[in-house]
């Protein structure tokens, strides 16, 4: 969905960021380096960038809670740090994870923040009733904030930030961990709020959100890459973007040579097609020669421009090809879930999850946080016993031979789950030991992994100090040491920059060529496009299954091209809720 920017008018200068640099320690790179920009009223300004780009640091400078090492943040001409008291009277701030007291009820949270901001009397009651209506939380005033869903927490956080009609509303990653429906609701709520007297800053790592902002400050590694309207940046890519429509079976083998080609800046899988960003004045006939299918011009997206700014995608080669053995494809399913159900008391975290996965296939479990993806994962790893149903991995029944099954699978957790305080090589030898590799083989495999992931230079580096992208490579290396037949990835690329994500998926592509089955959980709609098949999970149940294109097509109206994965998701959820209502009635 591509909302056109709504708030072209307004636009009074409200915040000036003047060559701001922020160091947290004398050593190491600065969190922000000479960043300048402006924030105007009547606009939603997106603070855009991957994790670690400096978004939160900049937001904290805007709140006046943190002081720039160099430069200044001026709010209506006043220094933010020096005039905090004045600033806090007109500020609405929603920190990451919403800043709510989880052991207080919805109403108690509102009362607390109203008192802190000096809102009282009839004015307070009026504001409460207005905000509760606006956020649709009126029914839940007595519920503890901790017992709310992600989407409701987000709305309550917004309500607390809005209590005193702030003139500057700062939202730090408001949509992380929230389902797409709530994400859209929040966006439309905030859009309604923006008027001539209010400036909104919305920090996000999602580039589709960035696209909808009136203006963006694009950050990468603490540096400002772009400041201005996202459409203007996107438009610079016009004429360089194509969709290559191919038979599904061919897309993985086609993408690597495309990325390696000098005239292609970037290529990603997009359902059955490959989305191509060509270099300026590239020879189209040459590119056509690399593709066994039709090349159709496509509308550029913000992400294309971002990738171009970052110097284009990776070269598509994965040295993993030489570092992994090819598993024989017996044609049988390698991962099987039959009616997997997990109940906690009366609550079913996952119910009747059924699927089977072939070798060399990438299967995505897609759904918002709390939908039951992790529970399903844990059951398939043998970490938790299903209440009902059965699961098999590489032929081992998880009820009877969970340990054997685990020996055949590699697992990469969502958070960096290696040991941050020991070196890269030590981490790998630890995992080699855990997987029971013999001394000689362990050495061989560790060297192969270090080489394949370009980590040799970091051998002795403490893992916790690696740059984000390298941490991720290390985590993948650890999961692949024992050459598993099945690879489980839990939210593998949430929050990473688009280049790192592409690189990561090049590796995954290389693995599928070796007949490794890859099971991915993601809440990230874009990531779902990389999968061969998707199992859409919502509230513990599979609500749809199929290839990304099939799912999108099933929701398309007359105009097929306009449907994104997120649109499909929302439509499918609505459909399943409708069906449930009908069964109930």
């Amino acid at each position: 969905m591509l909302d056109k920017p709504i708030h072209q008018s307004g636009g009074q200068l409200f915040v000036q960021i003047r060559e701001v640099t922020k160091h947290f320690s004398a050593k190491g790179p600065p969190a922000l380096e000479t960043v300048s920009g402006t924030i105007e009223t009547g606009k939603i300004t997106g603070l855009v960038g991957p994790d670690g780009a400096g978004k939160t640091t900049l937001i904290r400078l805007l709140t006046g809670l943190s002081r720039p090492s160099k430069g200044a943040v001026l709010i209506e001409g006043e220094d933010a740090y020096a005039s905090q008291h004045y600033l806090h009277q007109m500020l609405g701030y929603m920190p990451q994870r919403f800043g709510l007291y989880e052991d207080l009820s919805v109403m108690e949270n509102l009362v607390l923040f109203a008192d802190l901001k000096g809102l009282s009397g009839p004015q307070r009651d009026e504001t409460f009733s207005h905000l509760l209506k606006f956020t649709d939380l009126a029914r839940f005033t007595e519920r503890l904030a901790g017992a709310l869903s992600g989407g409701m927490k987000q709305k309550l956080g917004l309500a607390c930030a809005l209590l005193t009609r702030p003139r500057l509303l700062l939202l730090d990653e408001p949509s992380v961990g929230v389902d797409p429906i709530s994400r859209r609701e929040l966006w439309s709520m905030v859009s309604k709020l923006v008027d001539k007297s209010m400036a909104v800053v919305w920090a996000t790592a999602y580039l589709d959100e960035a696209e909808k902002c009136d203006k963006v400050l694009l950050l990468s590694d603490g540096k400002l890459l772009y400041s201005g309207s996202p459409a203007n940046l996107t438009d610079t890519m016009t004429g360089r973007v194509y969709l290559a429509r191919l038979p599904q079976a061919k897309r993985r083998e086609t993408i690597a040579p495309l990325l390696a080609d000098a005239s292609v800046a970037d290529a990603i899988l997009h359902g059955d097609a490959i989305r191509l960003l060509t270099q300026k004045s590239a020879d189209l006939a040459h590119i056509q020669g690399l593709v066994d299918g039709e090349l159709v011009p496509a509308a550029p997206r913000f992400e294309d421009a971002f990738v171009d700014r970052l110097g284009g995608g990776p070269d598509g080669r994965s040295p993993l090809v030489d570092a992994m053995k090819t598993h024989t494809d017996t044609g049988e399913a390698v991962v099987e879930a039959r009616g997997l159900t997990k109940r906690y008391g009366s609550f079913a975290a996952a119910s009747n999850i059924t699927f089977s996965q072939k070798r060399g296939e990438i299967l995505g479990l897609l759904g918002p946080n709390g939908a039951g993806k992790s529970t399903t994962f844990k059951m398939l790893c043998g970490l938790t016993a299903p209440s009902e149903g059965e699961g098999r991995v590489a032929g081992y029944d998880l009820r009877t031979a969970a340990a054997d099954a685990r020996g055949r699978l590699g697992y990469m957790a969502q958070k960096f789950s290696l040991y941050g305080d020991i070196s890269v090589a030590q981490n790998l030898s630890f995992f080699a030991g855990v997987y029971g590799l013999g001394h000689r083989r362990a050495k061989e495999r560790i060297d192969a992994m270090l080489e394949a992931f370009d980590l040799t230079a970091y051998r002795g580096t403490t893992a916790g100090q690696l740059p984000l992208g390298f941490k991720q490579r290390l985590a993948l290396a650890a999961a692949l040491l024992h050459e598993p037949e099945v690879l489980f990835l839990d939210e593998p690329t949430s929050g990473v920059d688009p280049i790192t994500r592409r690189e990561f998926w090049s590796h995954i592509n290389a693995l599928t060529a070796k007949n490794v089955a890859v099971l991915v959980t993601t809440h990230f709609m874009e990531e779902a496009e990389y999968c061969d098949r998707i199992n859409l999970i919502y509230r513990g149940k599979t609500i749809a299954e199929g290839t990304p294109d099939a799912l999108k097509a099933s929701c398309a109206g007359a105009d097929k091209s306009a449907v994104t994965m997120e649109d499909a998701f929302i439509a499918l959820v609505a459909r399943s809720e409708q069906a449930e209502k009908e069964t109930a009635a």
Partner: protein, 378 residues
Amino acid sequence: MTGPILPAPVRRTLSLARKETFQIIRDPSSILIAFILPLILLFLFGFGISLDANSIRIGIVVQDGRADARSLIQAFEASSYFDVVTAFDQAELEPVLVSGKLRGLVIIPSDFSERLRARDPTPIEILTDGSQPNTAQFVTNYAQGVFGVWQARLFGDAAAKPSAAITPQPRFWFNAELTSRYNLVPGSTAVVMTIIGTLLTALVIAREWERGTMEAVLATPVSRIELLLSKILPYFLLGMSSLVLCAIAAVFVFDVPFRGSVFALVAVAAAFLVPALGQGLLISAVTKNQFVAAQLALFTGFLPATLLSGFIFEISAMPLPIRTVTTVIPARYFVTSLQTLFLAGDVWSVLLPAITRMLAVGTFFLTFTWLATPKRIA
């Protein structure tokens, strides 16, 4: 709900304090620490751990068979402190002592009567098991006590004699039965209040940092002093209610006499909570991490309150450097004050200096907390 008449800072403080109270009430662990843990500790110290010697097995080697010696043996046998085995040959009992079945030997030498009459200060010999220093100390002290009392009675009976050499007579004031429970129960009250004052408060600010709520609060017009006060008030009340519980348990369950006034008790406890809360807040202001905060609170609060407050180990018996360290440990003054209040009464000459020192340490902690509490993030 607070009315609109209150000035904004007061309203903000009260609102934050009310929030803190809700959190305390809803968090089962804080109730556990404030009310269940004290009871467990009191029971442990009150009944389980006793520093009193009762029925300690000792041997008496009798090398003198005359009436004086027999009378002394009877005195030992009559004492509730000892369980006595007698023998004539030291060699017979020594291996039993070595094996640990006896805690000590009292040797009545063959010239005991002569020595006694000659006013030899040490007519008997006491052998103890040095591998258990505490018990050894008790055996020595109590054996001397038994001997002293016996000797006094002996010469008292013979008071007709004008040989009125002054006999020392041990008298234990305030705790005439020398029941260690009387000291331990007030002492453990101090430990309990240290846990509430220091450990719980150390966790609360760190918790707000970890959960991201501190940022939300700091971005409002709240000031540092309001933030600190709102943390202090509820935990002060919690500490005081825990004190009431401990005092009631001490008097009614453990039969510890209470000779002071309630007013003095409240004054002393309030004075103690100032440094205890101050220390907890200081810890949480510097660490921002619950785990580190808990460790620091244990090492700088709980352990000194247990080991260096004079509650278990007497301060006067500590080496000078450690004794010096104890002067900055508020629990030390609190233990002294509590023991005074329970066993002696409102001895203001003891209580006032103690209160002054506790407040002094408290002011020190609070000043640093004030300086270390960020109204900013970094």
